[in-house]
Amino acid sequence: MAATAGTARIGPSASRRRLTRVAGVLIVLAALGGCVAPAPSLSAYQSKAARTASAALSEVQTARLAVRQAQLGRIPHAYADVLVSGAEDAFAAVQGTFDLVQPPDDPAADKARTSLDEILSDGADLLGRLRIALRRQRADQLARLAEQLAPVAAKLSEYDPAAVG
């Protein structure tokens, strides 16, 4: 804690330096922990798929909530636009991250991937069209697209990577 101005400084400070270095490596690892590594096992892959589905659901629901509130006149157009664009971007990021994961060599994993991929591409497509309609202020299209998003949200919320068949 306090500075030692003595001569026997080499020992403790060297070990402290090593400790700092270890701490540094740990922090970098923590930061990298957020990135994707190849899924090592079926269960890990399935839990990754489940997390992807719930992250995607969050974005779809945000967009639906924003559009509904905009239609009710409860949020300004600019705010809805930021929310929907944000949701679209984040959805794309979630989808992209999942697609990059190497599934384990197992038919169950392939099934989990195919079925989630399908929902995700539907979602991405609809979110894009939703954003376009919102910016063009097409109320009729908005209502229709929001309606089409409902089953996507339902599928995402019910998605169970272990039970797709």
Partner: protein, 129 residues
């Protein structure tokens, strides 16, 4: 004033804030100059200031680096860290009060440099808000 008062240097003097006669902040007590008298007594004779006083106390590579750079930047006639003679000290409390004005104590060439080249050039620098 306070004759015979007990004073633990590390606990009560080192690293404390030095304040000038007008209440402005001057520096920290980065180290203390000790002078041995002929009869073997050791007296505290000055407050030492700046990187060349602080660096050795921080120690290690960083401390050497700190003191080394300050040494390089100083003029040849000033090889030692700036000092405030202990005779200037008027009070030792939660801050160390000195009798002079900050502008009279030439302790912070960096401050002058930053003032002259950066802060002083920005409009409004001369007025308190």
């Amino acid at each position: 004033m306070a004759d015979g008062r007990q004073l633990d240097l590390q606990l009560q003097l080192l690293d404390r804030q030095v304040v000038d006669a007008g209440g402005r902040l001057v520096c920290k007590v980065d180290d203390l100059e000790l002078t041995a008298t002929d009869d073997g007594r050791l007296l505290v004779t000055a407050i030492l200031i700046g990187p060349r006083a602080l660096g050795p106390r921080i120690g290690g590579r960083l401390g050497r680096w700190m003191a080394g750079i300050a040494q390089r930047l100083s003029t040849p006639d000033r090889q030692l860290p700036p000092r405030i003679d202990f005779g200037q000290v008027t009070d030792i409390g939660t801050a160390i009060a000195i009798a002079r004005r900050r502008s009279e104590v030439d302790v912070a060439p960096l401050d002058d440099w930053v003032d002259e080249h950066l802060i002083g050039r920005i409009p409004g620098a001369g007025h308190a808000s």
